[in-house]
Amino acid sequence: MAEKKVDSYRFLHGVEKRMLQRWVSLSRETQIPWTPLARPLSQCTVSLVSSAGIALKTDDPFDPEIETQDPWFADPSYRVLPQTVRTGDIEVCHRHINRCFAEQDLNSVLPTERLQELEELSEIGAAASSHFSYIGYTLRPERLLRESVPGIVRQLREEHIDVVVLIPV
């Protein structure tokens, strides 16, 4: 059987498809970081990072006014989500996606329950205590990179995370 080749644009049409094809065409060579896996996956602690803009209902919500005032980027802050988070605990604040799938089942974009199951099957060492989310839409990434990414990285290091799965939406 032929190996699968993902069609990146299958679910895109019209302006959105042309826009993303254009953005891909702008890609330039970039330095790629690399950290070898330190131990077998069955011994690794795994954390998840979602660009869906997921916040706990008990959190300060992401501020939609930031994007309303300047439509070139969204609220650049991030939220920490505990491993115990469940669908009823969250709201999704990304204004460029259909939020209803994640609001029906958080695991469609942040699979904390599936991660727990892999831990119980001993396929990973442990699900991390903390996962993270930010709003992935931005054409002004400076504040996200300056204000949010260092905080996420700091907490990942403090919690001795071995593997981070970045999950786009």
């Binding site: 993902v6 896996l37 980027f73 695991n107 469609s108 329950e113 799965v165």
Partner: protein
């Protein structure tokens, strides 16, 4: 989901999947499908040995049902570009105007 775009940001390991936006792991309630995707992603990650590796996951999105993948309302940038069509080239080239201008 757009692995070429992810690669352009310098991601060291990429597991590409042909799933609709908003359902990266799978459909709401599809426990087996979500688990299979997460398992395959982690296994692919563990097997990659070169920076910039891309593995195309073998999952097929077989449904022909019409699902709305976009947001319920156009985002602010869509309204903005209707009012400021001369900024469309900026949007396509990812070069926004200086903030506050």
């Amino acid at each position: 989901m757009i692995p070429e775009l992810t690669a352009s940001a310098g991601a060291p390991r990429i597991a590409a999947i042909e799933h609709p936006f908003g359902m990266t792991l799978g459909r709401p309630g599809d426990v087996a499908g979500q688990l299979a995707v997460l398992r395959a992603t982690l296994q692919a990650m563990a097997e990659m040995t070169e920076p910039g590796s891309v593995v195309h996951l073998p999952f097929e999105w077989a449904s022909t049902e019409k699902l709305r993948f976009g947001p319920p309302e156009p985002p602010p940038i869509a309204h903005y570009l209707v009012r400021h069509p001369w900024d469309l080239p900026r949007f396509l080239s990812r070069t926004p105007p200086v903030s506050g201008s």
